[in-house]
């Protein structure tokens, strides 16, 4: 009897292990399939429609039905909006991470933390809607401009990357050993001196990861950006004129581009570009973390 049950338990163990390994393998298969399918569909523009990769990357003429696929305006738009978001949201996020890790009394942290979690949960389309109905008219009034453009997109993205940067930089700062704080205080450093000259350098690789994941979030963000950018396929002359990003242009055009057309292939190429950027960021994170260990 005991032997039978033990056998059954061992059989269960083997079956369970099979399921566990299969489930884990699904992650590997999934990312491999995504890379493969986007690599094939994203390069069809070049090998099937014989469009030059140089003209795609650096050309600024975009006319989906007219066979012109210069994606430079969208690449510039994506980079500028993301850059703005990181310049504003990055330092702000790290500062608030410092606040939670070093300054906030327990009760304040308990009151503020759920707010940050809600900020993560708000759908990007709702951010976009708030941006479109609140921020764009505000910018229009303040700068006497149309209102939509890279400034609006940059501000919306700054807000959207905050929760990511805040929580990751807080985590990075919290694992700095207390001995460093004590040593710094014992040397007579003020609290701010400890934070800025001891803790931030000590947590630098973790903070770098926080910023990089903020970049990843910003560059892939689609609808919040699409709603406030104004969607003009030109290289923007200023932050206040309508522009477009890789993500927003895909959403704008995908419904119109017929299956199998060069137009649709060009949009897949833009998606492939986004995927490659995301993969580069992952590699950067690996490098930042390796430096630590």
């Amino acid at each position: 009897m005991v032997g039978v049950r033990a056998n059954k338990a061992h059989r269960d163990e083997r079956i369970a292990l099979g399921f566990l390994v299969t489930s884990s393998a699904i992650f590997v298969i999934a990312i491999a399939l995504i890379l493969a399918f986007l690599a094939v569909n994203g390069t069809a523009l070049f090998y099937q429609d014989h469009y030059s990769p140089i003209a795609f990357l650096f050309g600024s003429d975009w006319d989906g039905f007219g066979g012109k696929f210069g994606a430079a305006p969208f690449i510039v738009g994506s980079l500028v909006a993301t850059g703005f978001a990181i310049l504003v949201g990055g330092p702000l996020g790290v500062a608030i991470g410092l606040f939670f890790s070093e300054l906030a009394p327990k009760r304040v942290a308990e009151a503020f933390k759920p707010a940050i979690e809600v900020l993560v949960g708000i759908p990007s389309i709702v951010y976009g809607w708030i941006g479109l109905t609140l921020l764009v008219p505000l910018i229009a009034r303040v700068f006497h401009a149309e209102g939509d453009g890279l400034l609006a997109a940059g501000i919306v993205l700054s807000i959207m990357i905050l929760p990511t940067v805040i929580s990751l930089s807080e985590d990075a700062l919290k694992v700095v050993p207390n001995a460093l704080r004590e040593g710094s205080a014992a040397l007579g450093a003020t609290r701010w001196e400890t934070m800025s000259r001891v803790l931030v350098p000590a947590a630098s690789s973790g903070l770098a990861v926080a910023i990089i994941l903020g970049i990843a979030r910003a560059i892939g963000e689609t609808l919040a950006v699409q709603l406030v950018l104004g969607n003009a396929a030109v290289i923007p002359g200023s932050l206040l004129t309508p522009a477009a990003a890789l993500t927003s242009e895909i959403v704008m055009d995908m419904g119109d581009a017929p299956e199998g057309s060069a137009f649709r292939h060009a949009l897949f190429t833009m998606a492939l570009l986004l995927l490659l950027i995301a993969m580069c960021l992952i590699v950067l994170i690996r490098l930042a973390l390796r430096k630590r260990s």
Partner: protein
């Protein structure tokens, strides 16, 4: 945690002008950090109030349950709300088993090694794929290759890929919170590893696990970019717009907010968008509150301690 140690900067033997200016810088920095954090929280509260003020007049029973209109005013979002929940449910059916099993594998079974690194790296990569790119992958596979057209199932499978990493992370983190003594006690009683996982480890992690799952569900509920070209931006007009067929097109509430501002011909498009934004926001808040309450209750029931 550190505030105890470094709480009294003025206590150090500082004197003279230099010391005073250092102290002033410290004060300014402290005040700035407080301001920054408070400003973000105030901004969130302002957002919530703004969306409520804009949207509340659009909300009515008719709006919440009625069918959308394509040309006249007075359309509702009933089918869209239904589709959002339906796609969420389908997504959870695929995501939960895979992500929890993978999380258990990485946390409880896998020793350091090449396979574990590979899975971990794949999960991290999967987590950074932008949702619009995932949407196009879904379009290529489910719409173009399988010829399903826009379907609830295609949308749910795309969202599954998008949310597997987050769910696995949630599983790993809740398992990491289970004290090792549980594992040792269970094994000492003669349980196999799988028996320990099933009867000791998972039950004691159920509280944080549920909290995490509900929070991720909130994100699935509001996802838009991955669904526009997989589940579609129109509702099914079969026998009923409340349609359980996973092979029918299924516009969710978030996608509806997008398509309303993009191409709606109805005269009350702004009203409908305001109302949809409010319903989405209320749902997100609800998911957050439910996550906390249910997580706490389950922790209490399964481990007997308050979290």
């Amino acid at each position: 945690m550190a505030s105890v140690v470094a709480a009294k900067p003025a206590a150090a033997p500082l004197s003279g002008d230099r010391a005073r200016s250092r102290r002033i810088v410290d004060r300014i920095a402290t005040a700035s950090l407080w301001t920054a954090a408070s400003a973000v929280v105030a901004m969130l509260i302002a957002f919530v109030i703004y969306v409520f003020v804009q949207g509340y007049s659009a909300i009515s029973w008719h709006f919440l349950t009625g069918y959308p209109q394509s040309a006249v005013a007075g359309g509702g979002v009933g089918p869209e709300i239904f589709n959002s929940f339906y796609i969420l449910l389908l997504t959870l059916c695929f995501t939960l088993p895979i992500a929890v099993l993978a999380g258990v594998f990485l946390q409880e079974y896998a020793g350091p090694g090449r396979f574990r690194d590979l899975v971990q790296f794949s999960a991290e990569s999967l987590a950074t794929v932008p949702s619009i790119v995932m949407g196009l992958f879904g379009l290529i596979v489910f719409v173009q290759l399988f010829h399903w057209h826009f379907t609830a199932l295609g949308g749910a499978l795309t969202l599954t890929l998008l949310n597997l990493p987050a769910m696995m992370r949630v599983t790993q983190e809740s398992l990491a919170g289970v004290p090792n003594t549980y594992r040792e006690a269970s094994m000492a009683l003669g349980a196999t590893k799988w028996q320990s996982v099933l009867r000791a480890i998972l039950p004691s992690a159920i509280g944080p696990l549920t909290t995490g799952v509900v929070l991720v569900s909130g994100r699935i509920f509001g996802e838009t970019a991955a669904l526009i070209f997989t589940a579609g931006s129109s509702v099914s007009f079969g026998a009923s717009a409340y349609d359980f067929n996973p092979f029918h097109t299924a516009e969710t509430l978030a996608v509806h907010l997008y398509s309303t501002q993009r191409e709606a011909l109805v005269p009350d498009a702004t009203q409908i968008a305001n109302g949809s934004a409010l319903v989405l926001l209320v749902m997100v808040l609800l998911f957050n509150v439910v996550a906390r309450i249910v997580g706490r209750q389950l922790t209490q029931r399964f481990t007997g301690k308050a979290s």
